[in-house]
Amino acid sequence: MITLGEGLWDTLVEALERRLEKGAAFFRGGRAALDVGSRSLDEAQIRRVRDLLARYGVDLWAVRGTAEATIVATVRSGLSPLLDPEGMTSRTEPAGEREGTPAPPAGGLVVERTVRSGQRIEHPGDVIVIGDVHAGAEIIAGRHVIVWGKLHGVVHAGALGDESAVVCALDLAPTQLRIADHIARSPEERRRRPVPEMARVHRGRIEAVPWPHR
């Protein structure tokens, strides 16, 4: 994790470069996440750091920031936005063991594009995708996930343990669907005419019902 604190952005990036230069052999081949706190970054700034790190053989994979502009720019740059450390950075730990986690902040992240294979979107609140989520993509949300399009990737709603979270999609056919610590797969056979559906936890199991539900 690389933390860029207060100060002028250009100065910070230059300082980072000097450190990389000194320890070039140590950094080579590593993966890094960038912590920018509440600073608001645009795509060009994120790309500059990524390219700088790439020159020293370091693969930047994620940016942690609280500013909305930073999160949007991160997603647009094809990197993963990260949440705060107490959140869901560790995915190996089952969500159920984290009961008592304070309720995630409300608020949604709207993603207005196709989410493609290898892209991962993490957000503590709701995630709304206006577009398709392709197989190989991942959406992880603290609360609901709504996809106005096809949902073919992996989706995890209520990832902090919220069993009341739902997943809605115009074509709900995820590779894997998780709500809190429940896991389900889509039926093997594909339907010819997809209908909008909503997945939720009902009596301890994930079930899909037509959306809107009558």
Partner: protein, 269 residues
């Protein structure tokens, strides 16, 4: 006049990037365009072999970047087409011998004297891929109608969009109409539905492509093969022409009957 830099990439290996680059180079040059094909696959070069120019290489891309020769000295002129050149990759080095800025600088230097610079990208999504995409004005993605190749293409399309180099256009290579008809291969619609990008060409499976690659004479030199014709269509589309997509499916019985009746009717008139 400034050249357009077109990078040909795929994610997955073995789908036909180099074949496409060589054939598009030939097709564009036959249509009067001044073309340089650039092999960005440092350490695993193949483009020279496919173009039959291997034994003419003196200097390569890494020699240019490291200042051992001038750019012009490294360009290998095709033995058949006056306006087709190859900028070969180094075979004895690897991807770390090149940086993205180097590719941008080399392409910028070539832009003034040519119409098209075709960059043959290595497989993968690492530094070699980033080097190949860095100078691109536009990107062509090659895929085969197979789920694994389409998945990798999707990944690469996402990376290209993130670079601000999109929208990329798609080439579906090695489509077997017979298998599609039997429902055993993804068809064009299924691939486009999965990837949601524009198509620039479909190349049918054609064994003359393999024979041509081995003899260093790309099929696009003769447009009597199905694949050769497809490459010329893509070249025309790159040059901005509207070329309709020919249906790959053979017409069914009813359709043939209709056509026959229509042609009969026209003859009577």
């Amino acid at each position: 006049m400034s050249a357009r830099v077109v990078t040909i990439t795929s994610g997955k290996g073995g789908v036909g990037k180099t074949t496409v680059t060589a054939n598009l180079g030939v097709a564009l040059a036959m249509r009067g365009q001044r073309v340089v094909t650039i092999d960005a696959d440092i350490g695993l070069r193949n483009l020279d072999v496919m173009l039959g120019l291997e034994n003419r290489i003196v200097y390569d891309l890494v020699d240019v970047v490291e200042g051992r020769c001038r750019l012009r000295q490294a360009l290998v002129r095709d033995k058949r087409l006056q306006e087709l050149y190859l900028l070969p990759a180094a075979q004895t080095r690897d991807k770390s011998a090149l940086r993205a800025e180097d590719m941008v600088r080399v392409c910028d230097e070539l832009r003034e004297s040519f119409d098209f610079l075709l960059v043959d990208s290595p497989a993968g999504i690492e530094q070699g891929f980033r080097n190949a995409v860095a100078p691109a004005d536009e990107v062509l993605i090659v895929t085969n109608p197979e789920v694994a190749a389409v998945r990798d293409a999707d990944r690469v399309i996402g990376l290209i969009e993130a670079e601000g180099k999109g929208p990329a256009r798609l080439i579906i290579n090695r489509l077997k109409p017979e298998l599609v008809r039997r429902g055993e291969m993804l068809d064009m619609e299924a691939v486009l539905e999965l990837l949601a990008i524009d198509l620039i060409g479909i190349i049918p499976e054609d064994e003359t492509v393999i024979m041509a690659a081995n003899t260093g004479r790309p099929v696009a030199f003769a447009d009597n093969s199905p694949a050769g014709r497809s490459f010329h269509q893509i070249a025309r589309r790159l040059m901005g022409e509207e070329v309709p997509f020919a249906p790959l499916k053979e017409p069914g019985f009813l359709e043939r009957l209709f056509r026959w009746m229509r042609s009969e009717g026209e003859e009577q008139r």
